[in-house]
Amino acid sequence: MTELTLVQAVNRGLFEAMRQDPDVLLLGEDIGLNGGVFRATEGLQKEFGAERVIDTPLSECGIVGTAIGMALYGLKPIAEIQFMDFIYPAFDQIVSELAKFRYRSGGQYPCHVVIRTPYGGGIRGGLYHSQSTEAFFCHTAGLKVVVPSTPADAKGLLLTAVHDEDPVIFLEPKRIYRSVSGEVPEGDHRVPFGVARTAREGSDVSILAWGAMVPTSLEAAAKLADEGISAEVIDLRTLVPLDEAAVLASVEKTGRAVIVHEAARNAGFGAELAARIAEKALYSLRAPIARVTGYDTPFPYALEHLYLPTPERIESAAREAVRAG
């Protein structure tokens, strides 16, 4: 066990994966000498060489298309997209190709690429260095979507991703890259997909969150406890596959759900959670399902603190839910 920040844990995970398997290689912009703009790939090119830690031209389309070709051939490429906001030039490759290769070939061509990308707001990045569009990828059958919220999970889920057989969109909450640190197991630490983590137990209301919204939700839960409201915080960890059972069990216990995400509300992944609860746990509900999310605007610069869900907004939603029934 070592105390690491989240971005350090990602870095250790990459080191571990590359040591384990010579087929693992990285490609992306500025990931070599520069170590990535967030330093997630620091030291890797030095250790593994420029043939395995590949600085590419400025083309996300090229990065993902090339990674797919490598994966088809049998390598295990990990592509870095510098910011999630810049993933769209590769969207065609991801949605039309990566997600559909296994299926369209009748199972002949698995296509195991891991795409790592920092996502989310809170770093004064404005419209184009702040987005969280996980819903796009969740809606695309064939992709797994992973969002760690702790250093241990960052490493453990990353190693699981690298050893998985399916394409994985691995979203790193850059806002807490350095602000969160914690114990991370050494070596081949793996955290399974599809298993949510109960970040805090509670009985009055279920707060469902992922990524950078988990610490924010925990802050809210702590304050709610002061008022006598016992909030359970569920960290989903993987959105696809989803630990639906954990979500339903928590809501069945508490009777109330507050869903938290940074992304815009309309057709965000929170809607999916609400829909599942409304289908499968309706009779347990004691209050309307609340969503505390980003607004249906592009991501603003100067006022991002108002755009992003805050503990205050989460508390208020939880309080209302408790008041409702």
Binding site: T56, P57, T66, Y73
Partner: protein, 380 residues
């Protein structure tokens, strides 16, 4: 490019039905390596012709089958047989192919059984792809023939990636991406050729310029003189070859392959051909093709041209030829018959292969759908 193999007018300016002119460009430069390999080797010339005839007949048959509603869709290759079969013969079995949707000739030479292709066109229980894809969007791992998709161009960057992977593994192979003239405008053409240039990928970019992208003529696709010269923008060579002449194609692909395997990087080959038929069975070229254009190109029919050559070379007699067509016709008929008689694909199978292991949701869906189907059939 065999000098004088075409009359000037084909390469000169054609006039579209709407009065627009579409410039046909004579190859600006033709690359000839020092050790230029010959054309299709003696031992394979009749074989090559046989593949061309087979492809031609499959085309004919499939157009009919589609009209009869027995297959849903078809993309003909008529006019492009020499380009595809010349190219296929020049490759090695270990080379990885990233096709578009028009590469039937290539698939045949690769050894994909005709019946297997027909199974795919039907989407029946014999279809390796389990009925998932439209006709022509096939792929066979055991033939290093990657599965096609519809969005144009996406295979180009993938071919580069596979080439780099092969190099990393120490496999002395080439990868090759197939695409049309229209696809040179795609995002992936740019990204793929640029990556290949920077990383010196062992990749061949094989562009079948059939002069049209559905209804858009080559001249309106891009303002460059040739498509081949686009390679310069990425720091490597492009060559134009007469795609109606199988030996030209064979030679260019051999050279490009040698270069790739020797570590000398990528090549862009523009094979100038002509699509004799419609873009697909959904298309009606009468709406856009200028009068007389097809007829001019048909004078250079690659199949008839190669037959005459083989006869001149004394490798084929008119009688041989007739028998060969007959045998091919029988082969097509029999393969189709077998394919058509197979049972349909398992109805629940469309829920498989989304992931290596189904999610809980997909398992539930499967269970529910099985119940629904059972109920429909009056089963308990």
């Amino acid at each position: 490019m065999v000098a004088g193999s075409h009359p000037k007018d084909i390469w000169a300016t054609a006039t579209r039905a709407d009065g627009m002119t579409s410039a046909r460009v004579r190859p600006a430069t033709v690359e000839r390596g020092a050790r230029a390999p010959a054309g299709v080797p003696d031992a394979r010339r009749v074989e090559a012709y046989r593949w061309m005839v087979l492809a031609r007949l499959v085309d004919e048959r499939c157009l009919t089958l589609q009209r009869q509603g027995r297959i849903g869709f078809y993309v003909p290759l008529e006019g492009q047989e020499a380009a595809q079969i010349g190219c296929a013969l020049a490759l090695e079995a270990a080379d990885w192919i990233f096709p578009a949707y028009r590469e039937l000739g290539l698939a045949l030479v690769r050894g994909v059984p005709l019946e297997t292709l027909f199974d795919q066109f039907i989407g029946n229980s014999g279809d390796v792809l389990k009925g998932r894809q439209m006709p022509n969007h096939y792929g066979y791992r055991d033939r290093n023939f990657v599965v096609a998709s519809s969005p144009v161009g996406t295979q180009i960057t993938q071919a580069v990636g596979a080439g780099l992977a092969a190099r990393r593994r120490g496999d002395a192979i080439a990868t090759i991406a197939f695409f049309g003239d229209g696809t040179t405008s795609s995002n992936d053409f740019h990204a793929g050729l640029n990556f290949a240039g920077v990383f010196r990928a062992p990749t061949i970019f094989f562009c079948q310029n059939n002069q049209w992208a559905i209804s858009l003529p080559r001249a309106q696709q891009t303002h460059s003189a040739t498509l081949a010269e686009k390679a310069r923008a990425y720091g490597f060579e492009g060559v134009v070859v007469d795609g109606m002449a199988i030996d030209e194609v064979y030679r260019a692909v051999r050279q490009a392959r040698e270069r790739a395997v020797a570590g000398d990087g990528p090549t862009l080959i523009e094979a100038q051909v002509y699509r004799f038929g419609p873009h697909s069975t959904s298309d009606d070229p009468k709406r856009y093709r200028p009068a007389g254009e097809l007829e001019k190109w048909k004078q250079h029919d690659p199949v008839a041209g190669f037959r005459d050559e083989l006869i001149r070379e004394g490798r084929l007699t008119v009688q041989d030829d007739e028998k060969l067509w007959e045998a091919a016709r029988a082969e097509v008929a029999s393969a189709w018959k077998t394919a058509e008689s197979k049972p349909p694909v398992d109805p629940l199978s469309f829920l498989d292969d989304v992931f290596a292991q189904p999610t809980r949701e997909l398992e539930d869906d499967r269970r529910r759908l099985a119940a629904l189907l059972a109920q429909r059939e009056g089963k308990p």
